[in-house]
Assembly symmetry: C2
Homo-oligomer: 106 residues x 2
DNA sequence: TGGCGATTTGGGAATATTGCCAAATGATGG
DNA sequence: CCATCATTTGGCAATATTCCCAAATCGCCA
């Protein structure tokens, strides 16, 4: 695997890593419904606000969300709704594993 | 976030984690073209065979690939081709980040 | 059965991630 | 300017991941 190819896969892996945490998946799911500020997300999640902020930083670095200032608050929004398609795929995988049968065909 | 909801997100995160490594993304990409045995994958990747075997174990535990014995070799195959859709999404994200414009709309 | 090639497992060191606290920064209104 | 609320950053301990080597296992054939 040459360096260019490797770099391509690492860039992709960075996005997958951003999705590889339950809290961040929750955030994306909620942001798919509406834009939410950090303090509201923090309350929903129940973790320290600095923890939530760092999760948002990871999602932002991956290009998945975007922050927009509104007064002292910062509202986050989903930048790439296509990731939601992946949620559906994850559900089919989980379902097929649970049932022991084949997975989605395409 | 109640426990049931959390468990659901953690199950999904497990799948995202399986995709969160360049080597494993490479493996999935190759397996989308044809079934390949561990030794061939090892040669393509250029890592220790035990490392490749562990990557395959992670993908298998996530329900993404499946091994099939053929003599002494084990051929792996993609169990859930729907993950390939995520590859396309990752490319749009990367492209939109590079160009600084909006991402995929759906 | 014995030996060989293919694969997995165990173990451990290097590295990365997670999540809290404390402190710094930013924005707003008095 | 000062106080206050919202958010980010720094730092650190706990935990998880990665990857090599060595050893164990598995399947086949002589």
């Amino acid at each position: 695997m040459d360096n260019v190819t490797l770099a391509r896969y690492e860039a992709r892996a960075q996005i997958a890593k951003a999705l590889a945490h339950s809290t961040r998946l929750f955030i994306i799911d909620e942001l798919s419904r509406r834009d939410i500020c950090v303090c509201d997300l923090t309350e929903m999640i129940g973790a320290d606000i600095s923890t939530v902020s760092k999760h948002l930083t990871i999602l932002k670095s991956a290009g998945l969300v975007q922050g927009r200032k509104h007064g002292a608050q910062i509202f986050y929004r989903l930048r790439c709704p296509c990731v939601l398609g992946f949620f559906g795929c994850m559900e089919s995988v989980l379902k097929s594993v649970a049932e022991g049968n084949a997975c989605c065909v395409a």
